[in-house]
């Protein structure tokens, strides 16, 4: 009998210096040729689990290791990494730090060169990898000149040159914009079709991925297997409360079906749909008797009226970074009224961040181009800008300036010579707001990813800024932590703060934003409500933006039920269907 591709037996691992093990008692196996998705909460040790497959854990990253991992029957703990590397290829999250060479061609040859293969064989393997992934057009380019999606495809190709039998993908689309993500998923699709690799993947964007997956292994906080099976089995046969407790991302279509089932209408869930098209087909059948019905539309609150005062405005802003030929901004325009919730979307490199940097004065705008509460930003000292605008960076660690959470929050207040008692009061208020009271004395660097991000928001709140800019606030987080942060942001908005949020996540745009601005090629070709944006087929295609699943579902339903409203969130679709079904009962 041939051994399975991967066999994990009662694996336990504690990182050196950590109090708790990050994996305790993981047991599962993966058959040859399978495509398996590992699904579990943030920090549950999925990445570490992946690193045990080629022996980096525990051979290079040491710690307390128990149990065993076998790769095609070879014990991963004791087989040299350099040998396992030929059987297990790894693609990591951060496209920047996984390249070894500077030019695409060198990167592709790097791995087989390490195997000391004859030149002819290396050239053959590199050629196969280029053809397999379709990256001929990238040859000769410096790695730094590639887009995020191109980088990840190069990373995959360069690993394929080792001719591994197993590929492990560790959240490879997390840093990518929609264009890049689509590119990588297309590559995954090709790999799956050829069926000669065993693929294990950790991924947050389940909506688009789920139809590729043979099997999901659902893990809990300590990487113990909760259940395992086909996506349909895992999503529809697991107790929904367990799925929620784990805080994992599940496809919106599944979410809708589960909510309907819990409300007493199992019709959709009975068909176990995963994709929008499947759900649409079932729903059209279920709702066909109501085709002519007058559906209640959901009125989403629009942006605050023209009468509201301006929080920020950008007029015909152009900007080029020194030493770069291509301008970062050509003609950018932005209007943010007080109390608005604006989403800024667009591919990486389109100029979103550059635009935001002008609003906070990191880049000084030229006179007459950018205004904060009516005052020309070019005339404001950084200090005054910081009093009015809070900016939460994508990586919250970049903003940390002290050694404990209390000081971190008190820092800006102390700089402003606020009196001691007031500082204490305001810090405690802020901590309460972001639910971080329990880590008051901790070093900010040891907080979890979600906590760090909430701390980042809090440090921007204590000073009392009214305008808050968030750069990809939910990036790389599981559902629970992302939801928690968005609830916080939503609460701030309801309390009257003005929010500007840069994001790639159309679900967030649909659910929270009142207005969207698309940044594309240094210009701002669109400004309007999320719904209006999702109707712009040409613009969406050009910018590779994909409307959220529920919007697409509504559109599909409208083909057969013309009166069906255009809805964008699980909640609204759920209520519209519930209303009909309740009426029947």
């Amino acid at each position: 009998m041939t051994p399975p591709a991967i066999l994990v037996e009662d694996l336990t691992f504690r990182h050196l210096g950590a109090d708790e093990p990050c994996i305790s008692g993981a047991t599962f196996q993966v058959e040859r040729g399978e495509f398996v998705l590992l699904l579990g909460p943030s920090g549950c040790g999925k990445s570490t689990l992946g690193l045990t497959l080629n022996g980096i854990v525990p051979q290079s990253l040491e710690g307390e290791y128990g149990g065993a991992v076998y790769v095609f029957g070879e014990r991963a703990e004791t087989t040299p990494v350099s040998r396992l590397a030929q059987r297990v290829g790894m693609v990591f999250q951060d496209p920047e730090s996984q390249f070894c060479m500077l030019v695409v061609d060198d990167e592709l040859a790097f791995a087989p060169e390490n195997l000391n293969l004859p030149e002819g064989e290396i050239r053959k393997r590199v050629q196969e990898a280029i053809d397999g992934i379709g990256i001929r057009h990238l040859l000769g380019k410096p790695v730094t000149a590639l887009s995020g999606g191109e980088k990840q495809r190069l990373a995959i190709a360069s690993v394929l040159a080792l001719q591994p039998e197993i590929l492990f993908f560790d959240d490879v689309t997390a840093n990518l914009d929609p264009v890049g993500t689509a590119m990588v998923f297309e590559t995954l699709r090709q790999l799956r079709e050829s069926r000669d690799k065993t693929i294990v993947i950790v991924e947050h964007k389940v909506d688009e991925l789920v139809d590729l997956v043979d099997r999901i292994i659902l893990l809990d906080e300590r990487s113990q297997v909760v259940t395992s099976g086909t996506p349909r089995e895992v999503f529809y046969d697991t107790d929904p409360s367990v799925l929620r407790r784990l805080g994992i991302w599940i496809p919106e279509v599944v979410e809708l079906a589960l909510q309907l089932r819990e409300a007493g209408f199992p019709g959709l869930a009975a068909h176990q749909p995963l994709m929008v098209d499947e759900a649409a087909t079932v729903l059209i059948r279920l709702l066909k008797d109501h085709a002519s019905r007058q559906w209640a539309d959901v009125v989403t609150p629009g942006p605050p009226g023209e009468g509201k005062a301006l929080a920020a405005r950008v007029d015909h802003l152009a900007f080029s970074y020194r030493g770069q030929e291509q301008p970062a901004l050509i003609d950018a325009n932005l209007t943010v009224r007080q109390g608005d919730f604006v989403a800024v979307v667009g591919p990486n490199g389109s100029g979103k961040s550059t635009l935001m940097k002008h609003l906070v004065g990191i880049i000084k705008p030229p006179p007459g181009c950018a205004f904060l509460y009516g005052v020309d930003i070019s005339r404001l000292p950084l200090r005054d800008i910081a009093r009015q605008v809070g900016f939460v960076f994508q990586n919250p660690e970049h903003q940390i300036v002290t050694d404990d959470v209390y000081d971190e929050l008190a820092y800006s207040l102390r700089r402003r010579k606020v009196d001691k008692d007031e500082i204490r009061e305001r810090v405690h208020q802020a901590l309460e707001l972001v639910h971080l009271e329990h880590v008051l004395d901790s070093n900010p660097f040891v907080l979890s990813g979600g906590e760090k991000r909430r701390l980042g928001v809090a440090t921007m709140l204590v000073v009392g800024q009214d305008l808050l800019i968030l750069d990809e606030p939910t990036f790389g987080q599981d559902r629970l932590t992302a939801d928690r942060l968005m609830v916080l942001v939503k609460g701030l908005h309801e309390d009257g703060k003005t929010i500007v949020m840069v994001t790639h996540d159309m679900r967030l745009v649909a659910e929270y934003a009142r207005e969207v601005v698309v940044v594309w090629d240094g210009r701002t070709p669109f400004r309007g409500s999320p719904r209006e944006l999702f109707e712009q087929d040409d613009l969406l295609a050009e910018t590779s933006l994909l409307p959220p699943p529920m919007f697409r579902l509504s559109k599909r339903l409208q083909e057969s039920i013309p009166t069906y409203p255009t809805l964008m969130s699980v909640d609204t679709v759920f209520r519209s269907i519930l209303e009909v079904c309740d009426g029947e009962a």
Binding site: S82, Q86, A111, E113, V401
Partner: protein, 270 residues
Amino acid sequence: MVKLEYVPQSTPMHEWHPLMKLLGCVVFIVLATLSYDPVPNITLFLLTLIMALVVSRLSVRLFFGALLPFTVIALGFGIAQILFHGEGTTLLAIGPLSITQEGVYFAGTLAFRMLTIISISLVFTLTTDPKDLVLSLIQQLRISYYIAFGIFFALRMVPQVESEFDIIRSAHRIRGVGERAGLLGMIEEYRRYTIPLLVSLIRKSTRAAMAMESKAFGAFPERTYLHKVYIRKKDIAIFLALVIVLSAVMWILWRVGLLRGLILTTSTHL
């Protein structure tokens, strides 16, 4: 800030074998160190400028941008020498300080010696593909590929450190770091950068190390190289030509009396 990175171009300097080029630069450095008169050092410095701007066709802005901070330091050293050299024929006396002929002479030597060394090193850095340098270390000097690649990966991190530093600096500016003026403010500012920068660099280098290992780096004592560097006759010829030109220049300077000798050839030096 000017980035000190290799810029691909095709000039004889760029295509020169890295080790021969290194040897050529060493000749410059040795001559600059051994000659203790200002004119030879000025001449050597001018020759490095010709190497940079004419032979290597480096961008004037890039090159002088990189050289500028060092020029300031060299000037500082020079002025200090002029003011405090003391002994010798006084040209001008300001209170307790006396500017002497010997002081000016020595200051000129010192400043241009520094500039020559920095300038030729910049020429080397800006015209040499780090990959070719590493490959020549491995293929010609037989240095272990672990060590040679170690150097290469460290060099590769430099631009990443720079961009990471820029991000952290803007992130901190928003928090109000760097508002305090003066030296104390600057010290405080940089102190606050260190931990985030270190954390992020350790993380990045750990990731890079994992990526290398995952690509079977170090699997065998030997590895293959698709790209090979050879020392061609041309590379040696260029080196010899350089040595001849420099010797001729030094000889002429000696004949006209502007070069008293080299530290090795004379026993009387400053």
